[in-house]
Each structure stands twice: as C-alpha cells, then as structure tokens.
Symmetry: C3
Subunit: 467 residues, 3 copies
Amino acid sequence: MHKEYKDRHLGALENLGLARALYEIMASKPLLAPHGHVDPAMLDANKNFTNPVELLVTPDHYVTRMLASQGISYESLGIPRADGSRNEVDPREVWTILAANWHLFRSTPSRIWIQEILATLFDVEEVLNSDNAASIYQVIDTKLQTADFKPQALFKRFNIEVLATTDATCDSLSHHQALAKLNLGGLVIPTFRPDDVSDPARPNWKSDLKLLATTSGIEINSFANLLEALIIRRSYFKKHGATATDHGVYSARTLNLGPGEKEALFNQVLAGSATPSQLDDFRAVMLFEHALMAADDGLVMQIHPGALRNYDSQIFNKYGADKGFDIPVETKYTKELAPLLNAVGNHPNFRAVLFTLDEASYSRELAPLAGAYSGLRLGPPWWFLDSLNGLERWRDAVTETAGYYNTVGFIDDTRAFTSIPVRHDVARRFDAGYLAREVVRDRITEVEAFELASDLAYNLTKEFFNL
Amino acid sequence: MHKEYKDRHLGALENLGLARALYEIMASKPLLAPHGHVDPAMLDANKNFTNPVELLVTPDHYVTRMLASQGISYESLGIPRADGSRNEVDPREVWTILAANWHLFRSTPSRIWIQEILATLFDVEEVLNSDNAASIYQVIDTKLQTADFKPQALFKRFNIEVLATTDATCDSLSHHQALAKLNLGGLVIPTFRPDDVSDPARPNWKSDLKLLATTSGIEINSFANLLEALIIRRSYFKKHGATATDHGVYSARTLNLGPGEKEALFNQVLAGSATPSQLDDFRAVMLFEHALMAADDGLVMQIHPGALRNYDSQIFNKYGADKGFDIPVETKYTKELAPLLNAVGNHPNFRAVLFTLDEASYSRELAPLAGAYSGLRLGPPWWFLDSLNGLERWRDAVTETAGYYNTVGFIDDTRAFTSIPVRHDVARRFDAGYLAREVVRDRITEVEAFELASDLAYNLTKEFFNL
Amino acid sequence: MHKEYKDRHLGALENLGLARALYEIMASKPLLAPHGHVDPAMLDANKNFTNPVELLVTPDHYVTRMLASQGISYESLGIPRADGSRNEVDPREVWTILAANWHLFRSTPSRIWIQEILATLFDVEEVLNSDNAASIYQVIDTKLQTADFKPQALFKRFNIEVLATTDATCDSLSHHQALAKLNLGGLVIPTFRPDDVSDPARPNWKSDLKLLATTSGIEINSFANLLEALIIRRSYFKKHGATATDHGVYSARTLNLGPGEKEALFNQVLAGSATPSQLDDFRAVMLFEHALMAADDGLVMQIHPGALRNYDSQIFNKYGADKGFDIPVETKYTKELAPLLNAVGNHPNFRAVLFTLDEASYSRELAPLAGAYSGLRLGPPWWFLDSLNGLERWRDAVTETAGYYNTVGFIDDTRAFTSIPVRHDVARRFDAGYLAREVVRDRITEVEAFELASDLAYNLTKEFFNL
C-alpha cells in the first residue's frame, strides 16, 4: 500500500490500511475543545478577520518568538506594545517576512498547523515561500472578507460540539450568554480561572480581590470569606455552562492548613508583610482549597504548572505577557500534590487533569499518580510539547503505567481560532498511526484499536469533562 | 517474511529472521531470577493456589491499583485489610470486574503478562472480556486444583535455575533450608534485605534492632556492635546460599563518617533525639557501611532508591503497604554515591547493581557511573519501567555509554510466581528484537548479536550475581 | 532498494535513496571544527604518531574508562600518571587487551569511530578481535611511520576548512602563529578558554591570575582590572584568529552585580575569605561578565556546564584530570541564565551556544530558550551524548520547538585527531537519514531536505561561528 498525501502524519507505514481506517473513525467525530483561549467577544462580535497577518501571525506567540529567535524584531512585525501603541506596518510586509523565514519552521508544529490551515481553509497547498507569498496573501485576504469566513460561520463549519474558553474570576460571561442564544451547532462554555486572586505576587491582586468582593457581594475580610466568594463565583460559572476550572500555577505545590493557620496566613498576606515563603504557602493553600471545592461542586480541576512567566523583562515591559518569552522550569508533582491527593484524590466527586512542561515527570510521577488515583487524569502534551514527537514521547512514556483510560483526549489550548480543527486533526492522525502501530507491536488487537479510536477522539473528553 | 503470533514482541520487522534466531537461543536458556519477592513459605508448603483471583488479581498491585484508578474500590475486590480482615467477595465476582475492565490494561505490561500466563499456562488464547470471563475462570480454576499446578511442579516446569527471594534481616531461612533438600531442578536462595534495621523512621525499628540483637547474639549498644551483628547475619545468609543483599532506600545518598561520629550519631538516633537531617545521615551511613561489608564478604549489593512509600495515608491505614500507592520521586546518584564509590567503587571484591524509577538519570548519571567503575552494573528497568517501551528507552539511553557488559540481565522483581517465566520471555523477545535492530542499524555484526543473545539472557546475570 | 555497507548509519530504510543523495551533499562539504581539543603543538611539530596505542587508546578516555569499568587497571594500559611517570608496557600488549575486550564497546560510538578510522584511514575492514589484533596492529603501525600519516599530511587529507583548538587564557598562541604560515589547506584557530582564572576553587587560580597580570601588563588589584586584563587577552586571541570563547563551568548560573558589589566580592575571594556560596557567586559573575564582553567583541560564547570533574579522588590523585571519571549532574538553565539573557540575550552582537549533559533540559529549557532569544543556539549532543541515539533524541526533542536554525552544526569536541573526519561523517550520515525520515514523516519536502543537508553540514556552523 502506497502512502499518499491524504495519509500525512499517520506515521505508520507498517500498517497503513488500519491507520487509515482508524483515522476515518476519529475524523468523523465532532470536536470537543475543553480547554483553550479563544476570545468569546470575538465570536460574539462575529466580525471578519482583518487580514492574514492578524489571523495567523501577530497573535500567535509560537510564530513571533521563532522569528524573534533569529533577530527579527517585534517592531518590524507590528506587535502591539503593552501601552496599546504599535509600529504601523503594512501587513503585506509582515507576511513577506514570514514567507522569507518560513524555513525556520521546518519540522515544527507551527509549520504543520499553518500549512494545514492554508490547505483546508484556503485551498492553498503550496509550501509558503518568498515567491508565492504575495499571491497566497491575496487568496487568504479575499476569502477572509466573505461571510463564510466570519467567526460564527467558521464555528459551524469546524463541527465543534463544545468550545470552552478561559475566563477571569469576575468575568460577567455576557458573551457566553449572548452566544448561548445563537444556533452555532455547538456550545461555547466558560472555564473558571481564579489565578488573578490566587497569587498575591500579581500586581493587581488587591484590586482583583476587591473586584471579587464587589462581584460576589461578600466582604473579603477573612480567608473564610474569600472561599465563600469563590464558591459563589464557581457556582455562577457552573450555572452558565462551565464544567471546569483552570489553574496556571508556577508550582504544583499544595498545602493543607488548619482554619486558624489559614486565617493568620491570609492576614499576613493581606497586610503585605508575608515573606516569599509565606506567599508560596498562600498559593499552595489556594490550590488545595480549590481541590476541596471541586470535590464539592464537581467542576473539573485543570492544573497547568511549570512556566516561568515573563522571563525577559525587556520584552515584558515593552510588549506585555504571552509574547513567547515564558520558559519552563523543572516541575515535580509527587510531594507537591500529596496534601491534595491525600484529601480528595480518591473522592468520588473529585476530578483533576494534570499537565506538564517537564517530560521527566511523565513516567516518573504523572503516570504512577494517574494510574492509582481515581480522581486524576493526564492531560495531553501541552504548549511546547504539543507536537508529533511530543505526542509520541508522551504516549510511549505514560501508557504502559497509566493506560489510555487515565488520560483525556486531545486539548488544543489555543487562542488561534482557525487552528482548532487542524490541531485536532493532526493529533487524531497521530493517534490513528499510534494505535495501528500498537497492533503491529502486538499490544492491542484490531478490535481494541477501533474502540480506542473513538475513545481517544471523543469519549474520554466527553465523559471526564462532563460535556 | 511475514510476522506471526509466535513472533510477538520481537518488534523487528526489519530483520525478523535474525530476531527469531536470536530469540530461540535466549529461550533455550534456563531462568535466573536473582531478585524477586516470591514467598518461600508458599513454595515450601506447596499447596494448590486457591482460585484465579488469588493467583492473578488480589496480590498484584499493578492490577489492583489500575482498577482503583478508575474508581473500583479495594473493598469490592476483597483486598485484605491491614488488620487482617477483608470483605468476603465471591472470587467469580472479582474476576468479572477484572474482565469488564480489561480495556484499562490495553498496551500495559500487566495485560501482556496475564494474557501470556493464560496462553502458556492455561491454553487460553482469547483476550479476556465480559463474555468469556466465566468460562476462562472455570478453565483456570480447574487446572489450579491439579497436581501439575502446585508451586513445586510449576517451579520445575518453569526451568528456573536460581530463584532468589527477599528476606528480612533476622529471617531464620527455614523454608530455604527445607527447599534445599528437595529436587526442584533449581535453587531457591535468600537475599539479605536489612531495610528493617537501617531506617530509624520505621515504626518497628527499635523492636527489629532488638530482634537483631537476639538473633545475632550481640548486644547492640554501639554502632560498632550493630555492624558486628549485621556481619553475623550477612554471613548466615551467605552460608544459606545468598549471593546478594538488597537495599530499598528512599535516596541513594551515602555518607562516610569517622568512628567517633558514627557512634555519636547512633547514640542520638537510639535516644530518639535525632533531627530529620540526622536520621537522613544515619540512613546514608548504613548504605555506606553495607558497601564496605560487601567489599569484604562479596555479597552483591542491590540498590533500589526513589519511591515515596505509602503515599496515600487512607489506603495505607486501611490496607497496609504495597497496595499500588507508592509514587516515585526525582532520584540522583552522582553526588549521593560519591562517598561509597570513592571508598570501594573500584575495589576488586565490590559489586553493586543500581536501579532507578527516574529515567532522567539513565544517560546523565547511571550510564557514566557504570561505564567507569568496575564495581557497578546497571539493573534493568524496574517496577513502573519494566515494560516494552521502558526496556527500549533504557537500552537506547544507557548502551552507548555503558555498553551491554556493564548491565545485568533481566530481573523479574515479582511476587507473582506464575509471571516469572512470562516476564523473562517478554524481556528476551524484546532483547532479541533489539539486537536484530542493532544489526540493521550497523552497530553490531550478526555474530556479535548471537554472542550478546546468550550474554543478555544468561551469562551476565550468572557471572555478576555469582550464581 | 537494498541497504549496503556504504549506507551504514543512514538509518533510513524507509527512504534510502533520498538519504543517500542527502549524504552525498553533506559528505562533499569541507569540515568545520569550531570546538575541539587537538593539541596545536602536535600539529606544529608534525612528528609521526608513535604507535597504534598512542594514537587510539591511551589518550582516549572514552576507551580507557570502558576498560576500567571491567576491572582493567590503568597501570596495565600504561596510562601516564599525574607525576609524569608511567608503567612501561609494550603497546602490543595494550592493543591485545583492547582487542580481547572489544566486545565491551558493542553498540557504542567508540566502537563505531575506531572501526571507521581503521576502515577509512588504514583499510582495515574487519571487526577487531583477539585473532586479528596483531596483524591489525602491524598494519596501523607501519602506515603510521610514513609521511602520509604525519599530522599535517592528515590535516590536508581530512579536508578541514577550520579547526579550532582550546587554549588557556595566557597561551602565547605561538603554535597557531607557526601553523598560520603553512599551507595546510585550512585554518587552525585558537579558542579563548578563561576557566583557569574564573574559578577561585582551582588550586592554581592565584598563580594563573598572576600570569594573567604579567601577560596582559595589567596589575590585577581590582575586579575592574581583572576585566581589563581579560579584554586584552580576548583581543589578543581575536587578533590571532579566534572567533569564540569556551566556558567549562559546573553550573550555568550567572549573576549581575553592581560595580561596588563585584569589587567587594573580588576582594573577599582574593583574600581567601570567601564562603562556598560567595565562590559560587564569583563564578556566576565571571560567566555573566564574559557575556557582556562577548556582546562587545563578538566572540561566540560556548557554555559547557554540568560535569562533576575529578569525581574519583583515587583516580585523580594518581592519574590527574580527564581520565574518564567526570560524572554529569542535573543541570538547569532557565533561572541560571536569566541574568545573562535579560542583559544581552537579544543584543544584536551577542552569540552563545549552549551544551548539556542532562537530556531532561532539551525540551524543557534549552529549546524554549533558543527558540526565543536571538543570541542563543543549541550545540549538538555533547560528550556522553555524542552518539547515534543521542543525536536522535536531541533532534527529536529540540527541533519542534527550536527548529533547525537555532542549532549549530556538528561539533566533534575531540582530542583524538584522527577521529575528526569519522565523527563528522557519522553525524552527517545520521542527519541525512534523519532528514530523509522527516520527509517520510511529512514534516518537510524533499527540496527542503536538500537545503537543510547543506545547512546542517556546513552553513549553520560557518555563519554562527563567523568562520
């Protein structure tokens, strides 16, 4: 059997027929996107995207940081500055820069995703280069102005069953409410992300705490009151469709303190007299308390630790957060999560999904934990690791200890709306090839591979995230 | 050449003929099991196994923790509690639970081992499922009651040349003495595991120390006396066939203290006034001292660090140790073993085998250490890592620095007696495929592959463990 | 298409024709060796090598430590002792020991390199063994005495365009000056390695500092003066062809102190009253300051952290440094390099190449850093990791985040002169196979693979090292 273009990323020359058949099953499933960063306001406003650069370059820090890594300045790309200003560059010039540097992305997921978007959404099958840059720009730009390419039309075309956004503690969820009244062929639901009020080291922590007090109607003069206010907001999110929370923490450390200790710590933090170690304790307490609340209200806890944010102060000061200069650090889970897991790890109502940027933890800590605790599942490779080799290292490292059923399906985690279907498609192609290979490797039967194809593409996510 | 069922796990489509030939050589060798947890009393008593569940489910924490990870309670499985009681469940019901959840084990070693046991020992070649569960149970249960399935009959059938058990410091070794008088076609030898008296944080440390005093006839009122008592016990084990010791430590840290410092530390520990850091020092001293004793008496030291035992206090309090809730932590060796290796690492009489649960140490520390010190060999992938991918990652990571001859052969490390032959068989199949692939990869010749096949399957273990 | 001997290490049965074509392009490029340890005095003297053992065994710590790991003493190999004496052994005896133990090297890079040297330089295609040892010795020994095998003749034959040596802070570079006057068909350039004066824990630190004062003509009575003296030496090296510096540090930690703090620290270090933590600060300051100097003078900074040197005190005391008993430790980069990168990471004139012995850092820290900062590139697998599997793990782990263009080409890092061409050749074969596989894996096109072949074999090194 000869491999063709349609077989791309199936990666399984040994058993191509089976890989194809498995992929067909996976491709037939609607998309579940339980964690991502699409802006609900964009979907609600439903305006056409401005141009190819605003769609595919400027907002994608995977792309801009790779250009920066070869000395191409954010100014020359017209990246918006933290103060709202920007160097006004003709987007055609930026597109030309991208095309001239497209070789930088060889063998990277950004290259795959963008070429897949070009192919599947804009019928452009050529590899981008300096010669075809202008004509490709024109094709994209023209289509972007049509009604078929408005966000809501794309949402329908993408066959999304559920798209979860990520929203601040006090978000009104007005866009979600507006979107809920439309017929999009799928749901847009919020995710509760209380990072703003969980880390006193954040510059806006105090003002966010005040906002929480106002929004919840609870005066936050004690730790107990803080928890009460959070419970009110969790409940508000749940009422508006949320099934999960998200926790972007530096460390996975958790801490179980007695009531008096928590109040004393909170007072010290509030008074601004907490030591760095006490601030760390406070963050660990917050993560722990959200686990207790999760066991109570059933919202699925997503834990994303291990990135040192805003690593470069010059980039951060000039352009703000999420500009490609967040760098992972060593991340451990065993001792860090012990308090949390000892409290609710096997609680029948507790559910958590663990992510990492440190692959050393896959076989050492994450798979053994998820392979024991009923409340834990492993999230797929995240961020820098969300790639074909990354998926392979992950499945190879965790499956033998945790199995498939202590993982959840693919998570796109993207703010690039048009990349959602291609990211899922690439991951499904990988999994189809992987399962076919597991059959060749005598580790599952063909019948099992077909069952797993449905489970990995759809059922695991649907079930664990209560979608 | 077409791959058939008999070629399972050879994993080498590129060079199947060679892989088959290599496997045949390996399969012809008797089994050497220099480290494991089979109960010598069971072999001595030679009673039939009660039923399929007591054989394959209840005592296997790889299996029960995977079921627990999906919310199946240990109560429903009839797991014995720490207090000796248990929920009396019909074993047919437990077997039904296993069958209904057999999908959880897809692609895991437990699945492979149990299906191999079913196939090779009970002639059951179907994949377990809810439909065939009852009939498979019946087949196993019936055979288990026959004389051919008594432990000693199985021992003979398994072609075991040496089986080492793991035994406490003061074990009388009476079962080993009884077994030595039988004609089993192979030896059952003890292994000296002094963990009970090496870690003062163990609840029974003091009573175990007293037991050591009684058993050895040495009053243990000084560190020097403790060592003297240990030497007596090491000698007792050696006299009864032991060729090795085993050290299940949290950390690989070692510490070389002067005589006065050791006595002072011991006094403080004995008085119960040692700080956590001093307790840690004491454990590090004990590991160091056993290395000196090993260089003296020639018992091969096995070091198994890196598991945080009894991680879940609820599980531990209710069901006791070894119930699948031991979780690995980051484990380092370079600085930790420096005192030990500087003292005896190149001593002509010193031999040690290093194990890990932290794969990051393979290429970084373990292979460079074993590739330099004459006294060091690397143990094969251990516990969570004892799997087909685990074996591949291990060989890929260590061979280029340490070679094959600074490793020892496969070690099953199992308490599941009937899994011994299948574990060795799967590892041999893997190695046959690996060697065939190394020939394809131009790294060894076919002639060398055949020599290595014998060495990996038999000679390396035989020689290094003095079997 | 059938694989033949000439296809060795192409590793790409899936796409052999392409791999061959890519390799041909790579093989046609001259060698760039921007980092290594060939002795320029040896090249300058241009004497014949003494015998096969002095060429291939005694000076190669990869080889001698593997023999040591199986109990073969350095005495029996005639390894020179630290005091300059040595056990006088007949080199034929040492060669016999090597041949009798050649099985130890199966699947290791040493085996590949030495067999490649035998084949390509001495027309010996047999695998070394006890039977052919004497005749192979004779063949090598005879050729070594001919004019064609003098170092300069070999240099020309190897098609080396640039060979960088590694030289101490105060080296006169007289050999480089002499070599520059010859017609070798390529350049021999120095590399500035200021380790001798950067680490006050070195026994000779003070005398090396004095030597620096003498050589530079700067009295070093302040930190500012130390920097001034270093700038003079950097400039001297640059004038004599150096394009890079090298930093063999224990940790990648950097520290940005104010002028007063630096002077105070320097005074304390100079007075011998610095604490271990202050000594560590001083080393971190030195690494930081060299980065500032690099941004100024444009010398490319090579950072080689993570080895615990002279690990075995008995070996070190008897035989000195670089005897195979340096052992890697966990190595982190994110927080450690933050001061340096925040200062000059995106400076247009700053260039640094990062190396590691800790593969856990590949995807976690190194690829994200190099994939963001314009001044950073990743060096290829180093030392224990410079092997076929090591190359594959490296490319697999870093390419998807950093791309190919944030790496530099192959670096041989060798003191074994005749291994230079074979090391490059093996790496080129690997890369040819890897690129062919990336085409099969649908991640690049054939056209791109050909462009990458030239870039990986030549252009990336040429451009980044300013060769």
